[in-house]
């Protein structure tokens, strides 16, 4: 067992636990903006999970999914901010 495999066995539970904590904020967040911030954070963490998974499965093409997730997260955050600001504009 190499050092990278040991690091992955530690880091996968840490990433999953932090995603669960972020899901708690999505569930209880007092305002809609809190939920948008937490969802953006979950998408960014998913990129890290995809990178770790590409080491586990030893397939390098999985990293393309990370690029798509990064673009979709930015697009979603921008669209949410645009419409939330227009909602408060009278």
């Amino acid at each position: 067992m190499s050092f990278v495999e040991m690091a992955i066995f530690v880091s996968i539970p840490i990433i999953i636990a932090s995603m669960l904590l972020m899901l708690y904020r999505v569930a209880v967040g007092p305002s809609l903006e809190d939920r948008v911030v937490a969802l953006d954070l979950i998408a960014t963490t998913a990129i890290g999970f995809v990178a770790v998974y590409s080491i586990i499965s030893n397939s390098t093409t999985v990293l393309d999914v990370g690029i798509i997730i990064a673009m979709l997260a930015f697009l979603g955050t921008t669209a949410f901010a645009y419409y939330l600001e227009r909602r408060s504009k009278t």
Binding site: S18, L21, R25, S31, V37, D40, L63, T77, A81, T90
Partner: protein
């Protein structure tokens, strides 16, 4: 040499996952949406960037290194922009600051109707002249 690269990439992956965990704790424990954004945006960007760099070092291929660097640059460019947009939307939406915050520098210096920020404070009695109004005046 391979052993050294293995150890370095393992340490980078561990540091990245620890940073992600710290930012999730900040998302739970911070009292205010603005503090939550400042806790999460920076720490998560650093953590995911570190994990991606560790992955790129592990595979030792040019294609993987290129993809990882592209994702890192994209994250470093878009995370501040997204945080700025959400913070602006939250402020104009009227999300209150934490009740123990002692300073709010743009209070009273933005127009809540037109969503325009000014560098000076103005009272609601003053007639606000927007650039749009001035151009209309000039055309008349």
């Amino acid at each position: 040499m391979t052993e050294i690269i293995d150890v370095v990439s393992a340490v980078l992956i561990l540091i990245g996952s620890i940073f992600i965990f710290i930012s999730s704790i900040g998302l739970i424990k911070m009292p205010d949406i603005y503090m939550r954004m400042s806790a999460t945006t920076k720490a998560t960007t650093l953590g995911v960037g570190s994990i991606l760099f560790g992955t790129a070092l592990y595979f030792e291929e040019v294609g993987i290194m290129t993809r990882a660097i592209i994702i890192i640059i994209f994250l470093f460019l878009t995370a501040p922009i997204g945080a700025h947009l959400i913070g602006r939307a939250a402020y104009f939406d009227g999300i209150p600051l934490w009740d123990k915050s002692i300073i709010n520098e743009i209070e009273g210096s933005f127009n809540p109707v037109e969503h325009v920020l000014y560098s000076e404070k103005f009272s609601s009695d003053d007639k606000v002249t927007l650039p749009r109004d001035q151009t209309e005046h000039n055309s008349d």
